[in-house]
């Protein structure tokens, strides 16, 4: 008899989705749905955190070993749920009086379900399903503001490139299936282990590259990234938050599983690929972020750069001379950085939403509320928001005292441990460059000349930002007489890393 309680979190989310969708059809006062969503997500999150070190594999019916609940899955579940919570709270304000908000909530919940499935799946089929579920839901969400051509355009681009990349992915999967005769990741790995010659066939090489492209689309690696800036800029800000923080991490979850578990036998090949992609991604992301004038777009590019940092994990793991501790630190750092970036970037986009909302409600019609010139003197007009936003940018830039620094610290630590000095230097220089464009926004906010009188700050948005910032700070800080909460996250990620890399 298998214990299915481990699946309770996702079950709750699914149930909430259904409930929200159905009740939404009947009731008029729809704001309640937001709270229902919130309750569902929080319960699920609580369960995930409670069972953070579960390690349950459902090898028998009805999942045929397609689903596993291990720390790796749990930490990603936690990320998705946290992002979901943040977005949901923000949505209470953003779509509080929107007649279609029930659709938004249900789609968001379904997207979360898809992501969680991807994180928990051990079978390419389940993974693909979850992937598509999340994608389709987010396609629709990206175009949620029907009247806004930008939003529609964002959805269109996202959709087309997404379709292309998912077809690439399936194509790759088909070859892997054909050559290994299975879609179960463990089985694939064991097949490769059984006959090493398999790893060198051109077909499998093609499959690998196509898979990289397929997931690289979600992780927004250069050159598969081009949709990302447009979509993040065009989509509603809180949807961008979901995309940048959530579905991007889903891509990483899938990629970690497939490459580090399934295709570990051919790491010599994807070591090269990911090395190139990582360097290219972080460099291009940062350099293009420098010249952006729209804060939202700048954040989009910065999240591309962060994808580049996290891609370092693949390089270190696949680097042959790298010692075990380096691999563990890389994987751990990657997970921690995904974690901190998820919170930070989600909150940052929500902050952008808040600021745009304030600007539009006060200054009336401005062509682009996200333009950086609108941030002049924000510290005077909306001190709380500006302060929190600045702190979030610190976290993204990897400047203490926020968790973004710790995670980046661990991540880069692994590169030196592996002996990849060149990569390490490129990473830190990029990170230093990224400080530039974050700082420019801070400068605008703190010593630009205010364009108008003070704003009334929306308590909801401020609340979201406050939780995010406080969470990031608490995760960083040392606490008297006990280990810092950050250390708990580290331990969690470390267990997950052990589970995935098998080191």
């Amino acid at each position: 008899m298998v214990d299915y309680t481990a699946l309770l979190p996702i079950g709750i989310v699914i149930a909430t989705a259904v409930i929200v969708l159905l009740t939404g059809l009947f009731i008029e006062q729809k704001k309640i749905l937001g709270y229902i969503t919130l309750v569902g997500l929080l319960t699920s999150l609580g369960l995930v955190l409670k069972g953070w070190d579960l390690n349950v594999a459902f090898d028998s019916a009805p999942f045929y070993g397609a689903i596993v609940v291990d720390p790796f899955a749990q930490i990603f579940n936690a990320m998705f749920l946290i992002v979901g919570v943040l977005v949901a709270i923000a949505a209470l304000k953003a779509y509080g009086d929107n007649p279609r908000q029930d659709e938004f909530y249900s789609m968001m919940l379904l997207a979360t379900v898809g992501m969680m499935v991807v994180a928990m799946s051990k079978d390419l089929l389940a993974l693909f399903i979850g992937f598509e579920l999340a994608s389709i839901a987010t396609y629709a969400m990206a175009g949620f503001d029907k009247r806004d051509p930008k939003s529609i355009e964002a959805a269109l681009k996202y959709f087309l490139i997404g379709g292309l990349s998912s077809s690439l992915m399936v194509f790759g999967i088909s070859y892997i299936y054909g050559l290994t005769g299975s879609t179960n990741i463990d089985t694939i790995a064991s097949v490769f282990g059984a006959n090493p010659g398999l790893a060198t066939t051109p077909a499998i090489l093609l499959a690998m590259v196509m898979l990289i492209a397929g997931f690289g689309f979600k992780m927004a690696f250069v050159p598969f990234h081009m949709w990302a800036p447009d979509t993040y800029e065009g989509a509603p800000s809180i949807v961008s938050a979901l995309l940048a923080a959530g579905s991007k991490k889903m891509g990483f979850a899938a990629a970690f599983r497939i490459f580090i578990v399934g295709l570990i036998a051919m790491k010599v090949d994807w070591y090269i690929a990911f090395m190139i992609l990582a360097v290219l991604t972080m460099t291009v992301g940062n350099i293009l972020a420098v010249v952006q004038t729209s804060v939202k777009r700048m954040l989009a590019y910065s999240s591309i750069a962060h994808a580049g940092y996290i891609a370092v994990v693949f390089v270190v793991v696949a680097y042959d001379p790298a010692p075990g501790v380096a691999v563990i630190h890389a994987m751990t750092g990657g997970l921690m950085h995904a974690f901190s970036h998820a919170i930070g970037k989600a909150a940052a986009f929500i902050a952008v939403a808040a600021i745009a909302y304030m600007i539009l409600s006060k200054d009336g019609k401005v062509d682009d509320p996200n333009h950086v010139s609108n941030y002049d003197g924000l510290a005077k007009r909306a001190p709380m928001t500006a302060f929190l936003f600045a702190l979030l940018l610190c976290s993204l830039a990897g400047i203490p005292p926020l968790f973004g620094f710790t995670s980046k610290f661990v991540l880069f630590l692994s590169t030196i441990e592996a002996g990849l000095v060149g990569l390490a230097i490129i990473c830190v220089l990029n990170s230093a460059l990224s400080v530039y464009y974050y700082a420019k926004v801070v400068m605008r906010m703190y010593w630009g000349e205010p364009k108008g009188e003070a704003f009334v700050e929306s308590s909801t948005y401020t609340f979201v930002l406050a939780i995010a910032v406080i969470a990031l700070i608490v995760l960083f800080m040392p606490l008297p007489g006990m280990v810092s909460p950050g250390d708990l996250v580290y331990q969690w990620a470390e267990v997950a890393a052990h589970a995935v890399t098998g080191v």
Partner: protein, 520 residues
């Protein structure tokens, strides 16, 4: 909870409180209480130093706590003869800066909060005995200074602030790589992964790290780069003049007075023990950095039109003496001379910290009263502000190394202590002295003497809240110039411990057979 933690918490609480205040008076009040409380605690630490000195670890007021044990990050603070003077320096400077900015009316709450944060982060750097913590505070010092320059800065503040931020940040991230390597190789060889500074440094020093010369040098060079940019040493100095020119007076005072000392402090705390193990020519490289800075600064300074920029270049030269002294003190040679060089270099950090406060303070006063810093526009200010004239002359003379001011004690120690190991360097450094004297006198003559420039209109005499800090700092460096023992004794002991491998004299234990107490 030990004194150090209390000290930091006092400042943190002060920062938060003053951020919440509304008026200048409130913010100033909070800042005064907090910063002078910090100063009091620092002095208390100085008085209780001997009592709390741990003769095993050679640190006083040591505290250890958990932070992120799984990766070896711990909360570990403590002070010794190197760091305690720096803590005192930081508290003295910041405490009197709060008085100096008595009437700050532009965003007073943020201003004083940043001032206290600056104090906090600097002290954090000086007391940290854990590399993670050290690096965290090292990075954190950037933020308050960034805002001080940016919000209260001059016309080109954007350029200067961002340049300061990025330039020094690049240096520190490269330093981070060196720390990583040190951490990893110690962990790999012993199985204990820790960021504890004494542990790692001793391991490196005793050659316990089974690694290739490349890695030894990699560690050394990256960390050295971080420190050399912070010092700053020519040719990595260009962020400094810009930052100084645009920064508000308080910003300049803290920047030159304490923030630069982080680099020198790093030299003593981290780099100096390593020098024996890394390639020997790095020692000469450091000495060369120092010498180049010493020779570079007077020439660059004399070309400046802006009084503040001139002073900024002068501090580059003075920091060069520190590099020189450090390098000389580790070369094999006669022990007494090495100790003197080391002590002199340490004392140079303290004395320059105090002296440069007076210099920048005077620049600030002049700018505040005459609304210009261009040397050619000034002249004959003694007529209008004689009090300032006395202070400024005292400060400038101290800065050019006048005897009976602390600067001379330090530089004499460095020169005479370094001569036996690197005579050529010392001779060249001595040649810079007349030029240094030259530009200082030139500046004083052009600003203070000669006929009064009537275009300046009716200039008021220096205000009391500007006068008091400057006077206090002046008195401090004069007293230390006549009787430096209180600070030097402590440094001396540490220097002997560092250089003569372990045997430690009692505090102030320099002794000469002849002589005795002063015969009143």
């Amino acid at each position: 909870m030990g004194l150090i933690t209390i000290l930091m918490l006092v400042l943190l609480a002060g920062a938060i409180l003053s951020l919440l205040t509304k008026t200048t008076a409130q913010a100033r009040g909070v800042a005064l209480v907090s910063s002078f409380g910090a100063l009091a605690i620092a002095i208390l630490m100085y008085l209780m130093y001997d009592a709390n000195f741990n003769t095993v670890t050679h640190y006083a007021f040591e505290e250890s706590g958990t932070w992120m044990p799984s990766i070896g990050i711990g909360y570990h603070v403590g002070v010794d003869g190197i760091s305690l003077p720096m803590v005192i320096l930081a508290t003295i400077v910041c405490a009197f800066c709060t008085i100096f900015s008595w009437t700050e009316s532009k965003r007073p709450n943020q201003f004083f909060a940043l001032l206290l944060l600056m104090d906090l982060t600097l002290i954090g750097v000086f007391v940290s005995l854990d590399f993670f913590m050290f690096y965290v505070f090292w990075e954190l010092t950037l933020l308050p200074m960034f805002f001080l320059i940016g919000i209260w800065g001059g016309p080109r503040k954007d350029y200067s602030a961002i340049k300061f931020l990025i330039y020094t940040h690049i240096a520190s991230v490269l330093m981070m790589l060196g720390i990583f390597a040190l951490y990893y190789f110690y962990g790999a060889s012993t199985g204990i992964f820790t960021f504890d500074i004494p542990t790692l440094i001793n391991a490196y020093k005793d050659g316990l790290l089974p690694i290739s010369q490349f890695w030894l040098d990699f560690i050394f060079v990256t960390i050295m780069f971080g420190f050399m940019v912070k010092m700053p040493s020519v040719p990595f100095h260009t962020w400094l003049p810009d930052a100084h020119v645009e920064a508000p007076t308080i910003g300049s005072i803290i920047l030159a007075g304490v923030l630069l000392k982080m680099g020198g402090y790093g030299l003593f705390r981290v780099l100096l023990p390593m020098m024996g193990v890394a390639s020997t020519w790095f020692i000469y490289l450091i000495a060369l950095f120092g010498l180049v800075s010493i020779l570079y600064s007077p020439f660059a300074a004399l070309a400046q039109k802006d009084l503040k920029k001139l002073v900024a270049f002068s501090s580059i030269g003075h920091m060069g003496f520190i590099s020189l002294g450090v390098a000389a003190s580790v070369l094999a040679g006669m022990d007494p001379a090495r100790v003197v060089a080391h002590t002199g270099a340490m004392f140079q950090m303290f004395s320059h910290g105090i002296i440069t406060c007076v210099l920048f303070g005077c620049c600030g006063v002049i700018e505040h009263h005459t609304h210009t810093r261009i040397i050619d526009d000034l002249g004959g200010l003694t007529k209008k502000m004689p009090k300032l004239a006395i202070l400024m002359i005292a400060g400038f003379f101290a800065s050019l190394g006048l005897p009976l001011c602390s600067g001379f004690v330090a530089e004499f120690g460095i020169l005479s202590g370094s001569y036996h190991t690197m005579p050529i360097f010392v001779i060249l450094a001595a040649i810079s002295i007349p030029f240094t004297a030259g530009y200082h006198l030139w500046a004083v003559q052009r600003t203070m003497f000669g006929p009064y420039n009537e275009y300046l209109g009716d200039v008021k005499e220096i205000k009391w809240f500007e006068f008091l800090p400057l006077a206090v700092w002046t008195i401090i460096f004069v007293i230390l110039g006549i009787y430096p023992e209180p600070i030097i004794g402590m440094m001396q002991t540490t220097a002997e411990y560092f250089l003569l491998s372990g045997d430690v004299l009692p505090i102030g234990g320099i002794h000469v057979a002849a002589g005795g107490a002063f015969p009143w």
